[in-house]
């Protein structure tokens, strides 16, 4: 580490041109300055956050006006480096950053900001914490416009979070702008992915280590093609939801949109046998959705709410968190165990995710329904499986938080939040310590500090990945027009024995 050295900022081509360096040589620290009584106003908000040692530089924009800016990065043990420039966009040199935070695990990162107007003003030091545990180096997400009925361009992307490289996994421009959704990976394994295509070349794509298959997942015995997915940890099975989804609009501020199911069930897909099976436990008259397996694969967690009886009940359904034991090899199901009821919380649970160590279930809880991404009141909660206790996480904001995704280290999770402007959903990372406390999160860093003020798309369904998804976009493009393989419904299941919605809807449809 070069001590006391002022970095000359190497401005890259597409960074704001006005950023010119004052000093090209090493300059001394600023000796004469006055102190401000607050921290500088920076965007994104990277104050008091906890960061992993492998995260890309947290570039930021200084909102305070000034003619020159000096920013010093250092830790307790390392004098770090400084940037001095006329631009208020602080683009941190990647190698300097990685040198500093990589070698200072477990320490605090201090950021001193000096702003020059008539004279230099030093703002209060920003203190962030660097923890020891890395977070998965890749992140997958969907980028989509805000809309509820129509859609146009969208894509599933992956981002190397150690730098700023974003590559598309699949964008719908080659599939006549058909919908692509519900990407999901098995325990952060980039080689096992499920992804649905709707409207154009419809079907479910299964990416496996040695192969790729496209499935037609609608069977005469299930009410819809597969929707929300959960990989069984063994990698040979997936739980999916089948549902008849609807939405209504409301005039509630910050909650214009309620998604609900007329009916829904869970099914298990056996990859090797290409077979769909279910059980009366999860194909009941209740509406089951959002499956998530425990890491040992012996429990299936999901959400459930009573069947629709009238419009109000249907629209403003509130979901419980439940689980059911199962032996997936023998298709043996135990009794359903309700963990948290909406009756006791007064709210509706969604997106349950079991931690990789099996100790916790993280979920989102909002006012109604299970699609909490637009619900301002939706927050993240944690359920302690041993203590049978749940509580609101510390990393929530006053705006919508939803769709948590665990790191395989158990120490990190990513989630969606609208806290930045209550307009677009962005992805945040939060540190989850050994005591089960979530720390102040930080938004996924971008090279352009103002990127989130310019991007008119939402980040959707974050999934942490151990590595890069190797299959490229062209391969997927060429693959998805292929005819899908029809999945087979388990012939050993006695359909009449199912009292569930699937059966009811199947019968109704047959009558029609």
């Amino acid at each position: 580490m070069k001590n006391n050295c002022v970095m000359t900022l190497k401005m890259k081509k597409l960074v704001i041109l006005s950023a010119t360096l004052i000093s090209l040589s090493c300059s001394k620290k600023i000796d004469h300055y006055s102190m401000a009584d607050s921290t500088a106003d920076i965007f994104p908000d990277y104050v008091d956050v906890v960061i992993p040692p492998n995260i890309a530089p947290l570039n930021f924009h200084i909102n305070n006006k000034g003619t020159a800016f000096r920013v010093e990065f250092y830790t307790e043990k390392d004098k770090g480096f400084a940037i001095e420039q006329t631009s208020c966009d602080i683009i941190i040199p990647e190698h300097r950053w990685h040198e500093l935070i990589g070698s200072n695990r477990g320490r605090n990162l201090f950021i001193d900001i000096y702003i020059k107007n008539d004279g230099w003003v030093r703002y209060k030091t920003i203190k962030d914490s660097i923890v020891s545990e890395n977070v998965e180096s890749y992140l997958a997400y969907r980028l989509i416009n805000t809309s509820n009925i129509m859609w146009h361009e969208m894509g599933i992307y992956q981002r190397n979070i150690e730098n700023y490289t974003e590559t598309p996994i699949f964008r719908n421009r080659s599939s006549e702008n058909g919908c692509v959704n519900c990407h999901h990976f098995n325990q952060s394994d980039p080689e096992r992915m499920t992804l649905h295509f709707r409207k154009c070349f419809p079907g479910t794509l299964l990416l496996l280590p040695d192969s790729m298959v496209k499935l037609d997942t609608k069977t005469p015995c299930t009410m819809s093609p597969f929707a929300f997915a959960a990989w069984h940890p063994g990698g040979n099975y997936l739980a999916y939801c089948v549902n008849l989804v609807h939405q209504v609009f409301t005039s509630t501020i910050d909650y214009h949109h309620v998604v609900y199911d007329d009916a829904s069930d869970l099914v298990i897909y056996d990859i090797q046998r290409n077979r769909v099976t279910t059980s009366p436990r999860v194909s009941s008259q209740n509406r089951e959705n959002m499956p998530s397996f425990s890491p040992d694969g012996k429990w299936l967690y999901y959400i459930s709410c009573p069947p629709q009886t009238n419009d109000s009940n249907r629209t403003f359904a509130k979901y419980d968190l439940v689980r059911v034991p199962l032996d997936i090899e023998t298709n043996t199901w135990g009794e359903v165990d309700t963990l948290i009821t909406s009756h006791e919380t007064g709210k509706s649970i969604s997106f349950p995710k079991v931690s990789p160590d099996g100790k916790y279930v993280m979920f989102s809880m909002g006012n109604y329904g299970y699609f909490t991404i637009f619900d301002k009141d939706a927050d993240l909660y944690i359920y302690d499986i041993e203590k049978l206790d749940n509580r609101k996480l510390e990393s929530n904001s006053e705006y919508a938080e939803s769709y948590p995704a665990w790191s395989q280290t158990n120490r990190w999770f990513a989630f969606e939040s609208r806290r930045m402007d209550n307009l677009y959903t962005r992805i945040y990372y939060s540190y989850f310590d050994e005591d089960g406390k979530a720390h102040r999160p930080f938004v996924l860093p971008q090279k352009d500090p103002l990127y989130y003020k310019k991007l008119m798309q939402n980040y959707n369904l974050p999934e942490l990945l151990k590595g890069k998804v190797k299959v490229d976009e062209m391969t997927l493009r060429n693959f998805i027009p292929k005819d899908p393989i029809q999945v087979q419904f388990d012939s050993t299941i006695d359909i009449d024995a199912l009292s569930g919605a699937t059966y009811i809807h199947q019968t109704e449809n047959s009558k029609k």
Binding site: I253, L423, K454, E473
Partner: protein, 620 residues
Amino acid sequence: MRLLSFLLAFLIIILKYVFTKIQPELIFHAQQPPFLRTFVFFSNFVDYPGGLAEYTGNLFAQSFYSSFFGSLVIVSVCLILMLCTKYIASGSLSGSKGFLWMFIPAIILFYLIHDYYLPFYVIFKLLLAVVFITSIIILKGRQTLVLILFPLAGILLYYLAGSASFMTGLLSVALYFAFQSENRNRFVIPVIAVLCAIVIPFIAYTYCFNIQRDNLWFSFMPPFPLAIKYTADKMHYFLFYSIPLIVLVSSIHDRAFRYLKRAAGKTNRKVLKTIVEGPAKNTVFQTIMALVGGTTIILCVYIVSAGAYNQHKKNIVLADYYAENKDWKKVIDVALSDPRYDKYINFAYNRAIANLGRFSENYFNYPQLSGSDGLYPDKVIAAQIAQPACDLYYEVGYISEAMHWAYEAQTIRPYSSRIMKRLVMANLIEGRYQAAATLLFILKSGFHHETFVNKYLPYTIDTSLASKDPEIMEKRLFMPVNEVTLNDASYRYDLLYRVSKENRLALEYLAMTYLLDHKLAGFMEIYPDLKKVYKDKLPLTYELAVILYVLKSGKHDLHKYDLSEESRRIFLDFNKTLGKFNKDKKAARYTLQRSFGNTYLFYLTYLSPLAMKTENTHEK
């Protein structure tokens, strides 16, 4: 000099026509060409062939915000296209050779710009192809350089302008060298062109770009947002094909001419020599030929403009344009001057009379063939209704629905500044200041909206400013909160009216929805409220509805209602006239239309979709 004068005259005519008749600001309004000065926006255009031409085309299309600058840009493009075409056809910019050829693509272009939904970048893509062809032809004498540059520039053209321009460029250059070149490039260039045409798009598709297979070779149509209603017709394709066609025909002409020249040298035949050498300069014959040529071009322009100009299509855009600018009287003028019905004009007309406070009086001046759907655009969901639904709900104060439809509209028409502005207002009204600030920040990076941004950005910092804004405060007063939005127009307007009895527009819309749906009982429930609004005299439409209700209900208590003589007389006259035709509606239609065409009675009898539906069922 004479040719130059003619060219100038031609361009001035086109400029005047485009400025006054086509009005590029209407193109801008119809298409909302997106452009933001941010890298995030730019990055949307870099990873597919033709993207950069679309980006640049959108940049130039920003000039259409002003009809004058838009016309200048169109005419400038026209001029470049013409000069390049002349050079391609004749190998020179001077002289009369190739003079007529250069008007062909210009006239096709002139035809195409009559379509308000033709994105400017389509033209820009062709322009890039033409510049490519011209550049290669300029360098034709430098054999080796051409051999190196041709495939490289071809790759660049493919990337910049997409496959259609690329194919146009390759074909034109190949034809040119095959016919015009005297050196080895005569054979080599066409071979390279064929190879490039096969290999470059194939490699690009297989290894570089995530594009549809259909767009591999001939992508004439970029993937438009759903709201853009442009479909390429024969003239669109002909615009691209016209360039290689001109190369082919002019080359054949040249060859034939050279052949004749050689033949003339070997013979003494006077006719042949005259053809080869041309008429003597400044002769009457030459003047006549010039006049014929000029007249033909002017005639072509006239025929094309007469054939392509569609006042009705223009009116659809114009009505919406005036509505957006709150020029309500002009909306009404446009609607009433158009003999053809259009539901989008209908939406604009309804908004116009509502905003002018002449809703119930003038409602049936425009044929309300959509019935209550004219006040409920989102009854049948389609991409094109997102914007009208957003506008209507905003005006009536249903902010959550305005916002919902604004987001839908934005999805299918990304980065539209018009929609962003609507979203800013909706978010300010709902008190979502941070959201409004983000949208204003994005708007700021575009063009033309400085005034709007400067006005509303302070609202996001000092939120008390919003509370002093009459528009925002009125909408806040009117907007329903914590209610489910049902798919029923009368429910929605009833809800709005229940939220605020001050919301007169909601009351009027509710009353009219009842009437349009023949729900007279529902109408009578709000009759007392209407009487409070219209203390002196109820509008004729409402009075006629009261008469109908009384008669249909059989209560015979018409005296209870303080109705005017006029409405009674109109009601009686209408029925008397119908009686004259023995209640034969078909026979009476023309007569009734003349006297009662703008009344609720005529609507009920002839125009209402419900009445038409019943009639059709009876006929079946």
